[in-house]
């Protein structure tokens, strides 16, 4: 079918219909809530104004403190992530350190661990007064102290608790770059007499500079959007203030302004990230040509790398999950039980309670639906970006990755604003599963898109052209040629979104309504007041095991040893 538009004859067939529908959905899922946020923040009664920004942000010391805390928090997480993530990535990818696979697995586990779950565990371990590690340290080294030496309820505690997910980002990007780099420069340096330390400092790390920078920026953006951990520790950051603005008395304007502030900061990070990754082509030594750089023999230094990996594994995995598992069997808090007193009752509750079972079912359903929609949209969007040379492709690329700059809580505010206002209120979506589904799709689309886009880029257009010549239409060539070739990438994208949605908290907590509790919201509810720490620990442990199972089955089936570039925004 051909339509005359502005004097041009545009051919409009099934392919264009699918493209148009996908672009419209992308704008609906992403651009609409973000646009509405900005509109609400920068207008008063429909008239452009900065009054809200002044009233609810710049003139309120509490908000300024929260913003400052957020920035210090996010920058610190990025820095610590680089300081720990780069050596770990280097050690695992390029050296003869011991237990590499164990360290790699431990780092990747951080991606599927909800940060607030780690916070729960660390409250039990490093609570200043009764945290078990603190109690132990006081009894051994500081008998005169009644509190500390560590205080998890602090900005420092928040930074350290949130760092593992940042470390994972830096680790993945840096180790990928390290394992794909051309070793010729390093070999030249060594041949010229450079010592190993000099080679690493002058050659290896500069080559990975962009990957490290990209990892740091992702860590920054993720930390900025975290809600659960600062909420549990009682630290005022922008996300917790957004939630507070939506408690009685509800202040939509303040929520919109704060959401805009955090989105604007995230956008700056996103643009910087795009710049960092866009310039990667200048470093042609990092390519996908299948180099296998030699393993560096570090001598005694290998033990230092091994020690770093072991300490990280203990702090990020063994201790928190050990604490959660232990307390999940305690019959009574505050009383150390004998072995025979340990109980399965909290697990029994988790798997028999209506509310937790409903939440698990909701999470599974929403994760499945989100993953499916994200993947379907990603195939079309990725195809347009990769195959189309129009400006539309560039624009779509930007819109689709926009959620990397978004906090889940900001997306939720946008959705609440939209669906409680005319004309969208008529859709009666507020309080339904649709709202959660829209939020998850908006947040997770870039994760799916990255994986699908990478797969599409590896297919030359010749095969499709041949199919067209043979008479196949676009749908037929997609189904017969493209899809079979990208099915692994598509499957991987599906799993990534699924794993990201299960522990999502920051959007879910604002959109929580009758019948749409998720695992994350019920977990927080159990911990905060509805059911007790032991049940929360049991549900947290069970959830982790469920997600980990999917994670490891996927790794086994796909044979991929790293998570690709995972911009995990889902578990804030």
């Amino acid at each position: 079918m051909t339509f005359p538009v502005f004097g041009l004859k545009l051919s409009f067939g099934a392919r264009e219909a699918v493209w148009a529908a996908t672009i419209a959905l992308t704008l609906y899922f992403i651009a609409l809530p973000v646009g509405y946020l900005f509109y609400s923040a920068f207008t008063v009664d429909g008239v452009p104004s900065l009054a809200n920004l002044w009233d609810f942000f710049f003139s309120d010391p509490r908000m300024l403190t929260a913003a400052r805390n957020s920035l210090v928090f996010a920058v610190s997480v990025a820095l610590v992530s680089v300081l720990v993530g780069v050596p770990l990535a280097f050690g695992v990818s390029r050296t003869d350190m011991a237990w590499k696979e164990l360290v790699r697995t431990t780092v990747l586990v951080a991606i599927i661990t909800p940060p607030f779950l780690r916070a729960m565990a660390y409250i039990l371990l490093f609570g200043p007064n009764a945290g078990q590690i603190n109690v132990l340290l006081r009894s051994w080294f500081f008998p005169g102290m009644t509190s500390g030496p560590f205080n998890v309820y602090s900005l420092e505690g928040l930074i350290l608790l949130s760092t593992p997910i940042g470390i994972a980002q830096v680790f993945i990007l840096t180790s990928t770059a390290l394992s794909q780099m051309d070793p010729a420069l390093e070999e030249a340096a060594r041949t010229s007499g450079a010592k190993i330390g000099t080679t690493i400092a002058r050659i290896t790390l500069p080559i990975c500079r962009n990957a490290i920078l990209a990892g740091a920026l992702m860590s920054f953006a993720i930390a900025l959007s975290l809600y659960g951990t600062p909420h549990l520790l009682g630290i005022d950051v922008v996300t917790t203030q957004i939630r507070a603005a939506l408690l009685m008395p509800v202040n939509f304007e303040a929520a919109a302004v704060l959401s805009t502030v955090i989105t604007a900061i995230g956008l700056v990070a996103l643009v910087a990230y795009r710049q960092a990754t866009a310039n990667a082509s200048r470093f042609q030594t990092v390519t996908g040509k299948g180099f296998r750089p030699a393993v560096m023999r570090l001598g005694p230094w290998r033990h230092a790398f091994t020690a770093l990996g072991v300490v990280y594994g203990i702090l990020s995995f063994v201790l928190p999950y050990g604490a959660l598992v232990a307390i999940s069997f305690f019959p009574t808090l505050g009383v150390i039980p004998a072995w025979h007193e340990l109980t399965f009752s909290h697990y029994f509750y988790v798997f028999t309670s209506d509310s937790t079972l409903r939440a698990i079912l909701n999470s599974l359903f929403l994760a499945t639906a989100s993953a499916t929609v994200c993947v379907l949209m990603s195939v079309v969007i990725g195809y347009i970006i990769v195959r189309s040379r129009s400006r539309l492709a560039g624009l779509l690329d930007y819109v689709a990755i926009l959620p990397l700059a978004l906090s889940g809580i900001a997306v939720a505010v946008g959705l609440i604003l939209i669906y409680s206002s005319q004309p969208f209120v008529q859709l009666r979506l507020y309080g339904t599963h649709w709202m959660l589904l829209i939020a998850y799709i908006a947040l997770m689309l870039p994760v799916a898109l990255r994986s699908v886009q990478t797969a599409l880029m590896q297919i030359g257009p010749e095969l499709e052209e041949a199919a067209r010549v043979a008479g196949a239409n676009w749908f037929q060539s997609m189904l017969a040629i493209v899809m079979p070739l990208i099915k692994q990438g598509v499957g991987y994208a599906w799993v990534l979104v699924f794993l990201g949605v299960i522990p999502e908290l920051s959007a879910s907590i604002l959109l929580r309504q009758l019948g749409n509790d998720t695992v994350a919201t019920i977990l927080l509810d159990l911990w905060g007041g509805a059911g007790g720490f032991q049940r929360a620990a049991a549900l947290g442990t069970a959830t982790f095991l469920m997600v980990a199972l999917v994670f490891f089955i996927t790794r086994k089936l796909t044979g991929r040893d790293a998570f690709g570039v995972v911009e995990s925004k889902g578990n804030a």
Partner: protein
């Protein structure tokens, strides 16, 4: 409850919205999950023709949800169990609630002072607010009897209380400390007391069950607590105790209301009548650990109001805690406490 129905509901809700089943009533409450489960079982056993679906959240969050649902014309509750009477009064005054219509027997059994003159909402529970402590961290528990014990320097960084932004049950305590005692004993109480409390760097929690857990663990030594959590903690063998502050122990009476627009109005009223009837009132004490409002219902868990009054000045609160009062208390509390303890 049928889990399969929820799974199906999750799917159908996408297509059909939140269509209620014919005999299903939705009850909004701030009760903990244990309480919800017990009340649900008992009510459905007594009324098998009605399916009770509970939605729980902390009070302030719950009313935020109610507010947002009202704005979108999608209030899904049939019954609202109010954490305090003020919110009930506000919805009543807005015409959002239908009269529960107490029977003559109910009217005779419930203290007339607690009853709604218009007969729209009904009181169902009295919840005293006490001070809970970790018995291992308090050298002489028998010496504790006053709000001022919260200010003991030994408890620096070890005092917990509800976050007034989120949990409504901390407001009765703030009210007696700042207004009630502030007028009768301004030297020791009033907002000056909160200033002193702020120097203890109190830990703010979003729910009283969480406070109970922190006190039981010993992370917190002493806390402003609701009596139900204090009672249940002791009953379950946790190393805790509690006392009624002798100067004034606030006791908030809480109400139940039926949504006028409910599609299941009669079933909703059936629940309300059951809750204020002998069985529901018995559960208020045995399950929740709070005080029933109905005369003749034995207090098996904790102490009765009369017993409390032998040791403390129990101040029963209700409509005093208006929305304005709560907002004012929250604002002043945060101003005096300062921002986050980790502010830079």
């Amino acid at each position: 409850m049928k889990i399969s129905a929820y799974a199906l509901g999750a799917v159908s809700a996408l297509a059909l919205g939140a269509a209620a089943q014919a005999d299903e009533i939705v009850i909004y409450t701030n009760w903990s999950v244990d309480h919800v489960d017990a009340f649900e079982r008992s009510f459905e056993a007594a009324n098998p023709e009605i399916d009770a679906v509970f939605f729980r959240a902390p009070i302030e969050e719950l009313f935020t949800i109610i507010d947002l649902e009202n704005r979108t014309g999608q209030l899904r509750a049939d019954v609202i169990i109010f954490g305090d009477s003020t919110r009930a009064n506000e919805l009543r005054d807005a015409g959002a609630l239908a009269p529960i219509e107490l029977t003559e027997e109910d009217k005779a059994a419930i203290d007339a002072d607690l009853q709604d003159p218009e007969g729209i909402i009904a009181p169902y529970m009295i919840q005293p607010v006490v001070v809970q402590y970790n018995a291992n961290l308090v050298p002489d528990a028998s010496a504790l009897d006053s709000w001022t014990d919260l200010l003991d320097p030994a408890f620096q960084n070890r005092v917990a209380m509800g976050d007034p932004r989120v949990t409504g049950m901390v407001h009765p305590a703030l009210y007696v400390l700042t207004s009630y005692l502030g007028e009768s004993d301004p030297d020791n109480f009033g907002w000056g007391f909160v200033d002193k409390l702020a120097t203890q760097n109190p830990r703010l929690e979003t729910g009283h069950r969480g406070i109970r857990d922190l006190v039981a663990l010993g992370e917190m030594a002493i806390a402003i607590q609701t009596v139900d959590n204090a009672v249940r903690s002791v009953a379950e063998g946790e190393p805790t105790g509690y006392f009624y502050p002798v100067e004034a122990t606030p006791a908030l009476y809480q109400s139940v209301g039926v949504v006028a627009a409910s599609a299941e109005l009669e079933s909703a009223k059936t629940f309300a009548h059951w809750l204020i009837g002998p069985e529901g009132q018995g559960l208020v004490n045995t399950v929740i650990g709070a005080l029933p409002v109905r005369a003749g219902v034995p207090v098996e868990v904790g102490e009765s109001l009369e017993e409390m009054r032998e040791r403390a000045n129990v101040v029963v609160l209700g409509p005093e805690l208006t929305q304005d009062v709560r907002e004012s208390q929250t604002t002043q509390f945060y101003e005096r406490r300062g921002n986050s303890p980790t502010q830079l």
